[in-house]
């Protein structure tokens, strides 16, 4: 089953720390967002393999925008 991780708030993509093909666990950080003067990690939420990483550094994401798609183990 594929799981889409979405942004929970409007933010800048400060750093992308994972890439398509990576195997991740629920607590692993995919990207770090910057908003409200805080660095906010976006976690994988599920265990699996990243099939798509949909953001690039410097981009602005909005609440609900997809960040990554993970094929669950």
């Amino acid at each position: 089953m594929s799981h889409t991780v979405v942004a929970e708030l409007v933010a800048n993509v400060q750093k992308v720390t994972a890439k398509a093909g990576d195997t991740v666990g629920p607590e692993d950080t995919l990207v770090i967002l910057e908003s409200m003067k805080m660095e906010i990690p976006v976690l994988a939420e599920v265990a699996g393999t990243i099939t798509e990483l949909k953001v690039v550094e410097g981009e602005v994401v909005r609440d609900g925008d997809p960040i990554a798609v993970i094929e669950e183990n």
Binding site: E8, L9, V10, S35, M36, K37, M38, E39, I40, P41, D63
Partner: protein, 474 residues
């Protein structure tokens, strides 16, 4: 309001694991169970007994009879349980496994279910009410638990207004029980459920722990051990971190029971013990949404605060908050209306409520996290904490907009840093906060536990108080 749960192979009632007598025996201390109502086929059973030595009242749906459907007789059993619990001022625990009102009894059963709701609401805020949902709980059996203080969901628990069959026939939507009302939707999305567990035994165990925390509230011991909590914050002020280890570090080891763990996770609400005394901890969690308050987290915390206040449980508020989350989504979601609930909840509370600012507290969220102005019993801050309207750089960009516009672009970062440092000393520094009395005391992370405990003990030295209000499921 009704649905028929799937029927397993028929076992004799006494061997059926859904037998209410068996379930209630598992809930109570061994040998303590006494029947309040006869163990018959009414559909409900009410008993009294003890949990960790404290007397409680409990009732359980009888899922061996018509899937636990609630008729006039069964509802009367629950109302009797409530009468006893109210009269003796005891916590009441309901174990639910019921398809809802008995269809065959028609409106009579709806009338009877309504009387349970009335009894629950009249008891709200007066005696702790804990619900454990162990099987399907539909219609009336869904709203029963929803009216109580804490709802625990076992792995087979399903809560919904109407089951999948009715949903399909009425709206055409095709959905199963798990997706409609299982642990995932209620643990993460709806906020209906406070605790989800992997087994029925674990669900019962959590109910026992909560009953113990409410009924045996204990006293702050004279000698509260300290441990250095400073390592639980990251070096960088911007870095996110999980606040759970800090909550665990403030509480007595292993004593915490977190409510609504996965719903609105940017605020953490945990009951536990500090120096042996039951307390409620409310903590911003910077790992989620940067720890911002938003509409949902404000509502979650408000309900928790009001519950603690109603049952005389002092509060410890751990603050590291960048503000209320701004934006269209939040405004349309009612962040002002729901955020106001948190202001109301804290300002109304009469129990001791002690605040600790660990790293920063800004803006409206500064007030909402139990600030001095809302009547905090005592406000502590760690030495490097910042109390301000907003972060220093953001503030000087507004205050010195014209001046900064005239600065050459290559010098702007440096000038901003200088202005920010100057601004911090006059507006955001902890010394300034002490001068104007919004922070009472700067405390070292290594002495925090004993300081928080002492503040609660001092506030309670002339007796304990509790709020006189219900605990509406906000």
């Amino acid at each position: 309001m009704t649905t028929a749960p799937a029927k397993p192979a028929k076992l004799p009632r006494e061997l059926d694991p859904r037998n209410p007598f068996t379930r209630l025996t598992n809930l109570l201390d061994p040998g303590s169970l006494e029947l309040i109502t006869p163990d018959d086929l009414s559909g409900m059973l009410a008993v009294r007994g003890t949990i960790a030595g404290a007397p409680v009242v409990a009732f359980c749906s009888d899922a061996t009879v018509m899937g636990g459907a609630m008729g006039d007789e069964g509802c009367e059993v629950v109302c009797t349980a409530y009468e006893v619990a109210r009269r003796e001022e005891l916590p009441i625990i309901g174990l639910w496994h019921s398809g809802g009102a008995r269809l065959a009894e028609g409106v009579l059963s709806l009338h009877a279910v309504g009387k349970i709701f009335y009894a629950m609401t009249q008891a709200s805020g007066k005696i702790p009410q804990i619900s454990v949902v162990l099987g399907p709980a539909a219609g009336g059996a869904a709203y029963g638990p929803a009216l109580t203080d804490v709802v625990i969901l076992g792995p087979e628990g399903r809560i919904f207004v109407t089951g999948p069959d009715v949903v399909r026939s009425v709206t055409g939507e095709d959905v199963d029980m798990l997706r409609l009302g299982g642990p995932e939707p209620h643990g993460r999305r709806s906020g209906v459920v406070h605790i989800t567990t992997d087994s029925e035994a674990a669900a019962i165990e959590q109910a026992r722990r909560l009953a113990d925390l409410f009924a045996n509230q204990g006293e702050v011991s004279g000698d509260v051990s300290d441990s250095d909590l400073s390592g639980l914050l990251p070096e960088s002020a911007k870095r996110a971190y999980d606040v759970h280890p800090l909550v665990g570090g403030v509480l007595d080891e292993g004593s915490g029971v977190e409510l609504h763990q996965r719903w609105a996770p940017n605020i953490v609400t945990t009951l536990g013990r500090l120096g042996g005394r039951t307390v409620g901890v409310i903590a911003n969690n910077p790992l989620r949404l940067g720890g911002c308050l938003d509409a949902l987290s404000a509502e979650k915390a408000s309900r928790f605060v009001r519950m603690c206040d109603a049952f005389g449980v002092p509060m410890v508020v751990l603050v590291d908050v960048p503000g209320y989350l701004p934006g269209v989504g939040q405004e349309w979601d009612g962040v002002v209306r729901r955020g106001a609930k948190l202001l109301h909840a804290f300002a109304e509370s009469v129990v001791p409520r002690v605040t600790l600012v660990t790293r920063k507290t800004y803006g409206g969220a500064y007030i909402a996290m139990n600030a001095r102005s809302l009547g905090a019993t005592r406000v502590f801050a760690w030495p490097r904490a910042e109390v301000a309207v907003m972060g220093a750089v953001a503030a000087i960009r507004i205050l010195h907009r014209r001046k900064l516009a005239e600065v050459a672009p290559e010098l702007r970062t440096q000038v901003e840093a200088e202005l920010a440092a100057e601004h911090e000393t006059i507006a955001g520094g902890i010394e300034r906060a002490r001068e104007i009395g919004v922070v009472d005391e700067v405390v070292e992370p290594a002495k925090t536990r004993s300081a928080l405990a002492a503040a609660i003990a001092t506030a309670e030295q002339h007796g304990r108080v509790r709020g006189r209000h219900g605990n509406i499921p906000l």
